[in-house]
Symmetry: D2
Subunit: 353 residues, 4 copies
Amino acid sequence: MHKTAIGIIGASGYSGIEATHILAAHEKVELRLVTSDRWQGEAVGRRLGIAGATGQLRYAPLDKSAELARECAVVFLATPAESSLHMVPGLLEAGVRVIDLSGAFRLRDTASYPAFYNFTHSSPGLLEQAAYGLPELFRERIPSARLVANPGCYATACALSVAPLLRAGLLDEGSVIFDAASGTTGAGRKGSEDMSFSEVDEDFRAYRVLRHQHTPEIAQTLASVAGRTVPLTFTAHLLPLKRGILVTAYGRLRSGATAAEARAALEQAYASSPFVTVEASPDAVNLKSVVGTNRCTVALAADTSGYDPGRVVVTAAIDNLVKGAAGQAVQNLNLMMGWEETLGLSTLRAFSP
Amino acid sequence: MHKTAIGIIGASGYSGIEATHILAAHEKVELRLVTSDRWQGEAVGRRLGIAGATGQLRYAPLDKSAELARECAVVFLATPAESSLHMVPGLLEAGVRVIDLSGAFRLRDTASYPAFYNFTHSSPGLLEQAAYGLPELFRERIPSARLVANPGCYATACALSVAPLLRAGLLDEGSVIFDAASGTTGAGRKGSEDMSFSEVDEDFRAYRVLRHQHTPEIAQTLASVAGRTVPLTFTAHLLPLKRGILVTAYGRLRSGATAAEARAALEQAYASSPFVTVEASPDAVNLKSVVGTNRCTVALAADTSGYDPGRVVVTAAIDNLVKGAAGQAVQNLNLMMGWEETLGLSTLRAFSP
Amino acid sequence: MHKTAIGIIGASGYSGIEATHILAAHEKVELRLVTSDRWQGEAVGRRLGIAGATGQLRYAPLDKSAELARECAVVFLATPAESSLHMVPGLLEAGVRVIDLSGAFRLRDTASYPAFYNFTHSSPGLLEQAAYGLPELFRERIPSARLVANPGCYATACALSVAPLLRAGLLDEGSVIFDAASGTTGAGRKGSEDMSFSEVDEDFRAYRVLRHQHTPEIAQTLASVAGRTVPLTFTAHLLPLKRGILVTAYGRLRSGATAAEARAALEQAYASSPFVTVEASPDAVNLKSVVGTNRCTVALAADTSGYDPGRVVVTAAIDNLVKGAAGQAVQNLNLMMGWEETLGLSTLRAFSP
Amino acid sequence: MHKTAIGIIGASGYSGIEATHILAAHEKVELRLVTSDRWQGEAVGRRLGIAGATGQLRYAPLDKSAELARECAVVFLATPAESSLHMVPGLLEAGVRVIDLSGAFRLRDTASYPAFYNFTHSSPGLLEQAAYGLPELFRERIPSARLVANPGCYATACALSVAPLLRAGLLDEGSVIFDAASGTTGAGRKGSEDMSFSEVDEDFRAYRVLRHQHTPEIAQTLASVAGRTVPLTFTAHLLPLKRGILVTAYGRLRSGATAAEARAALEQAYASSPFVTVEASPDAVNLKSVVGTNRCTVALAADTSGYDPGRVVVTAAIDNLVKGAAGQAVQNLNLMMGWEETLGLSTLRAFSP
């Protein structure tokens, strides 16, 4: 079978490792290039226990990324936003298609970058070109895209939780609140005391309250599906576990809309989605059923007690490294290459028990 | 020094154990009675490592509780709501004052009991008598109360997070959302597969969404401080850790109110509170700083980005077994006995690191 | 491709679930039967997120196991030892080959069963027939076996750690000590308070010291490879994590043997083993590199400081549910069917990060 | 009551924090000095939630330690060994008594320092003066000592597990094996990726196998109590939890000795020890019963099955920061000051549940 040459830049970070595992087992992919300074010269097999040809591939240093990437049809950038920002123009010019796992090309509004990413965008022109890689909501632009901005992990879970309700005009004009929590791998490899086991174990806390980097991204998505600005608050919390994101989203049904309609909207929106499952109750949405897979489980409950009339609560769970990063990137790759959307992803299984 | 005889009914549950530790070190308390079927006949010292006279006290069987309680000035009921319901009338008649850690006497409205507690209240007359034992908000009735309904753990954290804002009339008429998470000891001793290590470790999920038992209790408190019905949504989540509750509360400033006024309201409300500390930022509110103590940390952030104008987010953290149960019960005991409010509690230290 | 019908009896336990995942993705297997009372009538896909034909298979009740098993060429028994003991004779008579994941047929000596398993063996004749399914050490009898006794998880790790040293006659006549620790899934599904999250989290302890069920099994294996009785002590500990076993084994080089020879013995023994890797140092042997895979990593260190001349320490790590149960069972299935030994197993990846 | 001025150098490390909590509540101690660069200028109360005068004490910078220490009768050095090595001579000359929590003065043999501590001892003369601060075994020299070398955490647990058996001559001439595991706070504050939550959670591994720093210390203690060199192997493992050490020690009874004699030796040795408890079975020795306290639980089991005749297994558990560091230091302080040995320590309670 003909295989397409794919590369991963920044292959030793947690998302990069996840991408390596998934692509190594993808029947249409030949993993041609993996770059990493930390593991340069080492064999992928030695580091990740992967067998076969992929196992014999060796990590090239990061500064060779641009040069070696030209051998690939598509490269995954699992690099910090500043690095992606720098590398993308050259890659595109060289005819390489790019799936960027960082936030560097997710926002349409250049003004957001200084505020939330601490840099001024050096290629604002490319922002228009970039396709936001969330297939369940924005499928159309992905297949032909030369540059896909892979969504943030939190942003993915938040968007999937309520987008169908906004698209169907079922929520009122009030704000939507996303209370989210993530495992530690979402923060990447960390040598900080803050993220040490002694400081994280048995603890739980919110961080960057009302100033998290994913807020503009979520706002952009909600506005896109709702056709209007949707006020929103997003709060992130750190969980003492390694993988997984749970979002509990709060909205209110607009006058006349019912909970049944809301559930139906979710079910219809995801009826043909291979990766999103609507559960009967939010109590059934948890991390362990999705961690290790590219799946997202979603469920809605509505107020019946009268304590908050019209209130709907939607929970959504994903694996931050899979559907929140590498898995979604592969899903986008499949669409870009015209392959079956679930290739290399349907075989992923939950880590549990 | 004269010591007052205190008893703990149901002393082998997690709250009962916590109460035993605190009371054993309380200089004005003589722990006279501890009852438990599970540990009947055993010495407290053998079970909990407590030295001295208290260590030599032996657990009496539960069915002896009512009889032996008469030797006490005050008894703590660390029993299920149905048991408390049954025991309280007799204890009061015998002249024993009661601090009930269950929900049996927390709600004013008898109609709520069948809906949320699955029983019809057999002593509705006592509901009026019971003082809701949250000193920071409802101090007045506690000193003379014969029956104190110790608040629920979640309800305590939720109330402390926003009550001052409601009292000061700073929030609009919209609903307040409480997104909370608790460690497993909040569920009590469990021999269910659901709460087994293999099922809880590395997982996170919401439960009893829009139908949690603490909702009417929180509603009652908010109405009391706001002087009006406050629509609310409360969501509980299970954390893979043993102790601690974090609540992230969402409200909106009424027109004209400012974030500075909101912060000031919190600071003023708790200025003379020995146990509640207002932190500068919600990022500083976490479980590890409070677990092991009777403290509650609270902090407020307000939207400045424009994504949700008027939004305020308040985080609050407590130890579910201390300020959420046994510690607050001892705080109430101190008030009931006319002792210094912090006796036996100011020496508690955080478990961390 | 022709697929062979395989069945799993007791498919809802942790080992059964693991076997289901592995067999569902095995290219030569048609998972024909899964039995479970807990999940009877439900679809495998609904429970485990498995797609395709296997996902549509429904769990039959346990009491139908024997009857339905006749449709299978081989069945996996993921049942308690007493159940396996009862089912095996009938299955063999019906011409079905059996891989028993319980301890019911592991021990040659019938006298050990009352002592360690609390039952008298009802089919002692079958003990002779059963092949002990540890391919790396006892490959010969497995391909033609009608009944394979799948080794215990602890026993597998202990055996792999030192067997090559014993076979090569490199250890002295003294006892070998195995200090082992396992995650909680090794105890199976538990609804006991003892195994509740609140009781296991942040704790560590030894259990069944000097009376663990796996001791006779390990003794049997050591005697087999050493050609003599090997005195041994085995200690199990419970780790506050879900999957994985680490064994730290202690032996002493016989006079004249060297650490280099010992390392060489391990490397040679496992040179052609697809699943056992010899690491350079015991510090490199950990759970996270093997959990999720059928691999075992092993490493040896020898005393050079003089504090314990001749001492060798060997560490070995496996996933208790994979190489310690279901994965090894599939490895045995491959040998029994004359298939490539790594089929369905080489694609397993480590769960980490 | 007259209080004695005590100081803690390096008060912001985990041991330093633990010492601060204990000394703050010690009725005969006035905590006069706490030094830390990280927290310099901040109030102890703000950092650790301690009330009263101690809470108002501010952290002085580390380079002021020597100067300010002169105001103290005794100082605790919770500093790295190299720092202690440097500070101790000057402190002693100034008439300040010192309890050093590092390993700088634990070993009698100067030759061990380059090998295990990577430095040449600059004050070998002081090694003779230093009293090894393990009261249960070496009480005599502590009360009059000017310099107490506080034992290592692992070394404390190992020593307590078997010393009485060696003293009573009950073990044979063979080696004693200590297989130990510790929570992460034993490694101190760490900003290394190695000790990050993502790398430690759900993992378990041995480290520095056959080359751990505590080996010579344990060897010195065993030789001291046995009156002969005792061959030993010590292995450390990292547990995914914050506090606690469990040691599983393996020895063999000498010919003629019985398990009953061994148990009696342990019981007699610790009969009057306020902190060491002998449990009936090793299964009852766990971290959660001792963490948070200065206690050590110990239990012995002996082979009765015949798999390893004469084998005895002793388990011992301590809190690495309390009995393994700060608590033992306070115990030594009490002895040095002629105070009741349990002052400030008997009130410590287990963190559990």
